[in-house]
Amino acid sequence: MRTASPKASEITRAWHIIDAKDVVLGRLATHAAALLRGKHKPTFAPHMDTGDFVIVINAGEIALTGSKNADKMAFRHSGYPGGLTATTYADMMATHPTRAVEKAIRGMLPKNSLGRSQITKLKVYAGAEHPHAAQNPTPYSINQVSQIS
């Protein structure tokens, strides 16, 4: 018996919509990253993109625990000497409300061409509106799988 390997034509991609309002950033990102990679499907294959599309709404109202809103820094580097820019999450959320969610999820995807193509299936919106109604996204609720029966 050979271990099944899905064909590109056999992969079906669903659309999930996650409401980020008052959800802790990392908890949202782990679920979104797993959906984008397809790790929730029995047909998961590490060498190809078996994942679904994920829409995150209300990304501007994500929750950060502790004092991270004021203390946690987001770093960018322009590539030039001295080109490091450090921004607190509070500042970043004010100017780019979707960036915290995008950054957290991107960091949880593989750092290769597969990961870069998987991130394109992520659609993040600061508010409650999104233009993907035609894709019939199903609401995704962040539940922990029960350790007890």
Binding site: M1, P46, V145, I148
Partner: protein, 120 residues
Amino acid sequence: MARVKRGVHAAKKRRTTLERASGYTGQRSRLFSRAKEQVTHSMVYAFNDRKDKKGQFRRLWITRINAAARANNMTYNRFMQGLKVAGIDVDRRVLADMAINDPAAFTALVEVARKNVVLS
């Protein structure tokens, strides 16, 4: 006794190495000495990775079983424990195949495992 000349075997050895190096990049497929280094390494990698392949497949099966178990609201960890307690001796390769090709049977196994889970 017949005389043995060295050139035939030397050329044969080089030809074999270069054939094994065909498709390699740059000098590694063209120059004997570069090809020899790469072929030696490649064979080591191939040998090691044939062993590694077993573990990689096991990891893939576990990922797939976990995905299917979570769809039935159970984690991989508890599922395997339940199967063990129930005395169901199905290996991960078969479980992963069932998860894809026979979801109903997989769900039945999850239910059996759920009844047998021991919570410490």
